[in-house]
């Protein structure tokens, strides 16, 4: 229905009287308007700013939030108004939509914020008016590109169960993923450079031998150059075959540009091997050697800039085509004119129109070699016109190509910058996250601590007031613990127990993988190398002794350390061991299953009261004990059974 002109419906109905005399059948009965409500003003309170409008204005669009009964959910009985806790600035344009029937997109508004508002109020963005629609779509596309860049980086994450083939392919595509890939990358780059240099040096005159003139180095040191060439081609062949093997879709890989370049680079050598010194084909053989220069294009795998250039040229294909076409037209015109102008003069170099092409091209591109010069006056006049117009024709499409290149280049820069910033951002987010995770562990310790203190009769002075939200969250985590009959611990306790069970050759630890942020990878990989011996004085005597705990004592000399001064917290966490839990531990025989957020503990823990535990642990770097790879390189979610 034409909701925008709902105000005119009474008129349209009244005008229907015009059909009545013409009609032959009786008319249906009109619907009764039982509500008979006088049009009333509605107050919409959006974050304190009050908007008022008629009820019928809002009723124009019954499939939106404000037009339907959905707004009743937001009705405030006390103040008799509808309260929305949203952005009042964005609400302006939404309310204007009801009033005028046209939705406008305010340019200063962030596109995703605006989208969210639209979704909240149930308005589809497609009805944005023509005046603002283009801008909206442009901004949306830009935003999408930005987000896509972010998402592409997550593809770099290594999935746990990649086959050898997939690993290899990933190594080829992203050299930074593993050291082997990096080595391979640099080796191939090196050999490409060697190959190109030898091709170049081959042709340099090398100094004369006793009875011959200067001959190029290639002919003088044939064997050496042949060996180098063979080595390079072997490397390239191996690389190509490996890529072909690892490619997920071999057919698509063979059709890709890079693989064609690879093939073209190595083929001349093999063709040369196959063909012996056959007189008639040796000429063709020599031309084949030209193709060896294509090896330089293999550098585009190594250089981002080259790829951007290639991509730009591809995306500017139409502009380049136009440039070429207009240049051709101009060349033909001017060549013809010059030819006929110079026809009269004797000993003119302008022997034919194709011969004049050379002059025209050289002039239009303002090269001006001077090997062909017009001699007649008419020729000189036309020659000058030619050079002036050449500048113009070339200058026209160039800015388009330049702007395209600039856009793509900046996009790439932005992606790189974001990648660099992402690490810092993720670190900050990680700290915030782990803060909340450790808050729970902390509150648990506080709870136990207060119990302990109660036992010893001391006053509890360090009762941090926990907000209601926090306490409810902690209660929730506690419930989960009780459900699964496992407890949350921090990293070190987990690693400790992990090692201990490993030493006791308990077979059961099944790291269950869950999705988490990749920084855990770097954290764990760091963990592999650092260990800290723990002086046994650090262990509080409150440990109940059991077979497990004695092993723990033994292991006390070995501690996996994550680089922060948190060691004192482990002694705290030992307090977690309650007497009743130990029996559970024994029966469970050290089954460590992995279950929650594992993050490097933040320095926040260091702010806890230090008075209870022993001296700080020494931090040194003794020879490392390699933990099994299950903790490293996999994003795991850990819970340990204490």
């Amino acid at each position: 229905m034409a909701t925008g002109v709902a105000a005119w419906l009474p008129f349209a109905r009244a005008a229907a009287i015009g059909w009545m005399p013409v009609a032959n059948c009786p008319m249906p009965i009109a619907p009764r308007d039982n509500t008979k409500r006088q049009d009333e003003l509605i107050i919409l309170n959006v974050s304190g700013r009050r908007f008022q409008t008629w009820r019928t204005t809002l009723d124009r669009y019954p499939d939106t939030l404000l037009g339907s009964s959905e707004k009743d959910f937001f009705y405030n009985e006390d103040t008799k108004e509808y309260f929305f806790d949203r952005d009042p600035d964005a609400f302006r344009s939404i309310l204007n939509f009801y009033r005028t029937g046209k939705l406008h997109y305010p340019r200063h508004e962030c596109i995703s914020a605006y989208d969210e508002e639209l979704t909240f109020f149930g308005i589809i963005p497609e009805i944005i008016g023509d005046c603002c629609y283009e801008e909206y779509k442009d901004r949306k596309r830009e935003n999408l590109e930005r987000l896509q860049d972010d998402q592409e980086e997550t593809k770099d994450m290594k999935l746990p169960n990649m086959s050898f083939r997939e690993t290899m392919w990933r190594a080829f595509e992203n050299p930074h993923t593993s050291t082997m890939a990096l080595v391979f990358y640099y080796v191939t780059g090196f050999f490409i450079a060697i190959s190109v240099i030898t091709n170049v040096v081959e042709t340099v005159p090398c100094g004369s031998t006793f009875n011959q003139k200067d001959m190029p180095c290639g002919e003088r040191y044939t064997v050496a150059f042949f060996c180098i060439d063979t080595a390079c081609v072997m490397i390239f062949t191996v690389e190509y075959l490996l890529r072909l093997f690892a490619a997920p879709s071999r057919y698509r890989f063979m059709r890709s540009v890079m693989s064609i370049i690879d093939v073209v680079a190595i083929l001349p050598y093999y063709i040369g091997l196959v063909m012996t010194n056959n007189e008639d084909v040796s000429g063709a053989f020599v031309t084949l050697r030209v193709f060896r220069v294509f090896r330089i294009f293999k550098f585009s795998r190594h250089s981002q800039g080259l790829r951007i250039l290639g991509y730009t040229l591809k995306s500017c294909a139409s502009e380049l085509g136009f440039l070429l076409f207009s240049l051709t037209m101009a060349i033909i015109i001017f060549a013809t004119v010059m030819f006929y102008a110079e026809k009269g003069s004797s000993s003119s170099k302008f022997t034919s129109i194709p011969a004049s092409f050379w002059y025209t091209i050289v002039t239009m591109t303002t090269l001006g070699y001077g090997d062909m010069v017009p001699k007649t006056i008419a020729g000189k006049i036309f020659g000058s016109i030619c050079s002036l117009s050449g500048v113009l024709v070339i200058a026209l499409p160039v800015p388009v190509i330049v702007s395209n290149f600039s856009r793509i280049y900046h996009q790439n820069q932005r992606a790189d910058k974001r990648r660099a910033q992402k690490k810092a951002r993720m670190a900050r987010i990680r700290i915030a996250k782990s803060g909340s995770a450790n808050a729970f562990l902390q509150s648990k310790r506080n709870g136990l601590l207060s119990e302990l203190l109660e036992l010893t009769g001391k006053d509890e002075e360090d009762q941090k007031s926990v907000s209601l939200l926090e306490s409810q969250h902690h209660h929730l985590l506690h419930c989960l613990e009780k459900t699964t009959a496992h407890e949350f611990v921090d990293e070190q306790m987990y690693e400790q127990n992990f090692l201990e069970t490993a030493l006791q050759t308990f077979p059961s630890h099944s790291p269950s993988t869950a999705s988490h942020d990749s920084p855990a990878v770097t954290c764990c990989s760091r963990k592999e190398r650092r260990n800290t011996p723990l002086p046994s004085a650090g262990l509080p005597p409150s440990h109940p002794s059991s077979a497990h705990q004695s092993a723990l004592h033994e292991l006390s000399a070995i501690r996996i350390h994550c680089g922060d001064p948190l060691s004192h917290s482990t002694s705290r966490s030992n307090l977690n061991v309650k007497p009743d839990d130990s029996s559970r531990i024994n029966s469970k025989s050290g089954r460590i299953t992995t279950a929650i957020i594992s993050l490097p503990s933040p320095p926040a823990l260091s702010s806890d009261g230090d008075g209870l535990h022993g001296p700080l642990q020494r931090r040194s770097h003794p020879p490392s004990i390699q933990t099994t790879a299950s903790s490293a390189g996999i994003n795991i979610v850990k819970v340990s059974a204490l």
Partner: protein, 216 residues
């Protein structure tokens, strides 16, 4: 009808270029704005209450901020109610029926007068209004051609997808039926008296005249 106050505001846009440039003359902006009579006068002239007039004017002014409706806008608005067919021809006739002083635009007074007759008028007045609608050239007679035009316009609003399928001669047949009913002396035209008489004798038509009384 009281003389309307029509304000014609014209602004000539002068660029830096001298006024001899003919292009600049095309930029002369003239906006016609119309302010209606006061509320009391309209109340006196029509059968609407004050509140109803307020509601009507608000809707009217929302759609047409300048205060007058020209034929294009009128056609647009009316067509939105009949998305399946083509309502432009009928809207044209309707526009002429509302535009009582034939100045090419429907002001709020015209609009409200027409509505007053249609919604609050006596049956006689409504029939007279309908007669004026059908009488395209306003000569006091409805000829068969005029009726055919009106009929085709009405059937156009139906569009293509109807059941049963609309045939070419359906409007013509309908006109024949109409004339049989209305044209008492069979002279090929319907006068206003014939029209009113025939309608008052027809029960269906009488009943349907009261159909839209509670629209506002």
């Amino acid at each position: 009808m009281d003389p309307r106050r029509v304000l014609t505001v014209s602004a000539r846009v002068d660029a830096a270029v001298s006024s001899t440039d003919s292009v600049e003359d095309e930029l002369e902006l003239s906006t016609v704005r119309h302010r209606p009579e006061g509320l009391e006068q309209l109340e006196a002239q029509t059968r609407f209450s004050r509140k109803e007039l307020q509601i009507l004017y608000r809707g009217f002014k929302n759609e047409c901020p300048s205060g007058v409706v020209n034929e294009e806008t009128f056609k647009d608005i009316y067509s939105q109610f009949f998305p399946q067919g083509d309502a432009s021809t009928y809207a044209h006739f309707l526009f002429n029926a509302f535009d009582t002083d034939h100045n090419g635009s429907v002001s709020f007074e015209d609009f409200v007068m027409g509505l007053s007759i249609l919604l609050r008028g006596t049956v006689q007045e409504k029939l007279i209004w309908a007669f004026n609608l059908y009488d395209i050239n306003k000569d006091g007679y409805i000829s068969k051609e005029e009726m055919l035009d009106i009929m085709k316009a009405i059937y156009d609003m139906m569009g293509k997808c109807t059941y049963p399928v609309l045939k070419e001669e359906t409007p013509r047949q309908h006109v024949e039926v109409f004339f049989q009913k209305m044209d008492k002396n069979k002279d090929g035209v319907v006068t206003i008296d014939e029209f009113i008489d025939s309608c008052q004798n027809d029960e269906n038509i009488m009943r349907s005249m009261h159909l839209f009384e509670n629209v506002l």
